[in-house]
């Protein structure tokens, strides 16, 4: 009986797909999506619903179907993340899980996940960033400011947290502080059009009196001088780095990539722009490198869409001083610094071996 139904569904799917090509309509998208769901092709069903919603943005039924599909997808993701946290706890998994609850507007659950994560990983900025988002969703501006300030104090190059903090300052009337936060972003995202535009808007406003610190164009602190540019003088591994507990299991594996002749260093960055593991040459500021590469990936990803290249997978940047490979690994960003003479095949193999390990641990 099921077999017969599948055949009939298959025929109906073919007929509806032809119809959609010639005369698309919301009801056809809904019917086709339903048929795919019945045949067990959930991802295809979601794809059809999304396509329909894009084509008919005013269709309430399609929008609702799309939201339902996303909810189902998120529930499955939550289950997967909870199970991963049990087996291989990591702060990124906590942050992702909290963000899923946040999307469902389940702020209590999101906050609880953050608190649990924070107990084991108090120095992971990503969790404070999510806590800031939760507070903003609850319209608690003071709490949001505290959490976001904590997030950027743990990682001064956290683009998302810094940008949200700039917006929160603006919402609380602290225009000068907002401007300072945007100036800091501009340091590690020098050509970010969104930030430049926001700064231009702010500069046309009056300065408030609540800000006490002077204007900065680069992050302050004892590292500021060497952060103006990141030198790559040698190949000695940097020691004594801060570790929020995210990449402990990957620190040894990442060093294997340096075995490929010509590789000078590697870094793995989480979806929040924070360092998971790195093996960079001495003198390279890993937080700044993470921020720069995250921001570059963001720009390049947008461009990939503009060029109809689909999702960004990998970029190979050649410059006068060498080569930088930037690639996406399970929603994370990996950067490899190498010379132009590095054998591409050997490097690809080393990268893939490491990427598989990353997926094992973090996905």
């Amino acid at each position: 009986m099921g077999f017969l139904k599948n055949i009939l569904n298959g025929r109906e799917i073919g007929r509806l797909e032809e119809l959609l090509d010639s005369s698309p309509a919301p009801s056809l998208f809904l019917r086709l999506s339903q048929l795919y769901r019945e045949t067990g092709e959930e991802s295809k069903a979601q794809e059809i619903t999304r396509k329909g919603a894009e084509l008919f943005p005013n269709s309430e039924e399609l929008t609702r179907a799309c939201e339902n599909a996303d909810r189902v997808h998120r529930e499955a993701d939550k289950e997967r993340l909870r199970s991963r946290i049990e087996q291989y706890p990591s702060p990124i998994l906590y942050a992702r899980l909290a963000e899923l609850y946040l999307k469902d507007k389940d702020w209590d659950a999101a906050g609880e996940v953050c608190r649990r994560g924070e107990r084991s990983y108090p120095d992971y900025g990503g969790l404070w960033y999510i806590k800031g988002k939760i507070a903003l969703a609850r319209e608690n501006l003071n709490e949001a400011l505290q959490n976001l300030e904590k997030a950027v104090s743990l990682d001064e190059y956290n683009y998302n947290a810094m940008q949200l903090l700039a917006d929160a300052y603006l919402d609380s009337g602290q225009i000068e502080k907002s401007r300072q936060a945007l100036e800091k972003i501009r340091f590690f995202a020098p050509n970010d059009e969104k930030i430049v535009e926001k700064l231009a808007n702010l500069n046309s406003k009056k300065t408030d009196v609540s800000a006490s610190s002077p204007t900065v164009t680069a992050p302050v602190g004892d590292k500021s001088d060497k952060m103006k540019t990141v030198q790559i003088p040698g190949v000695q591994t940097q020691d004594g780095k801060k570790d929020s507990g995210v990449g402990t299991s990957l620190h040894l594996e990442i060093k294997q990539i340096r075995r490929v002749a010509g590789v000078r260093g590697t870094i793995l960055i989480d979806p929040y722009g924070l360092v998971i593991a790195s093996d960079l040459p001495d003198g390279m500021n890993e937080d700044l490198v993470a921020a720069l590469l995250t921001n570059l990936c963001r720009s390049v990803n947008e461009c990939a869409q503009g060029l109809t290249l689909g999702e960004f997978e990998e970029g190979i940047i050649d410059s006068e001083q060498g080569r930088v490979h930037v690639l996406e690994v399970a929603e994370m960003t990996m950067g490899v610094f190498a010379t132009e003479e590095t054998k591409a095949g050997l490097l690809q193999r080393a990268i893939h071996t490491f990427a598989e390990r990353v997926i094992d641990v973090h996905h």
Binding site: T229, L296, V300, T308, L309, G310, D318, Q321, V324
Partner: protein
Amino acid sequence: MKDVLRKINKIYGVRGVILVGADGLPIASDLAEGEDESTLGAVASSVASALSGTLQRLAQGQLTRFVMNGSGGSVVLLPVASALLLTLVRKDANMGMILIELDEKATELAALFSS
């Protein structure tokens, strides 16, 4: 210039090519129907700007080439004199061969700029 771009477009795996000024305005192109010159020009300029800023902060010198691979194909961006050469490449193309040929053609274009 148009001739050189036509030759690039004939390389197996290439699906379009455009030469744009640093400001993103198109200088010449050989694109398939439906490809929008001004969009491609703006994107090329935007990518180059993001890359240059990052390379500068990383003390890596000037950009000499950028290859971007996406799920639906690739692009190669080459600075040529003061302009940018953007080549659209199909997913299944032999990128090694294309890069060699593009380097040659970029030299030809640079010579045209200086003449």
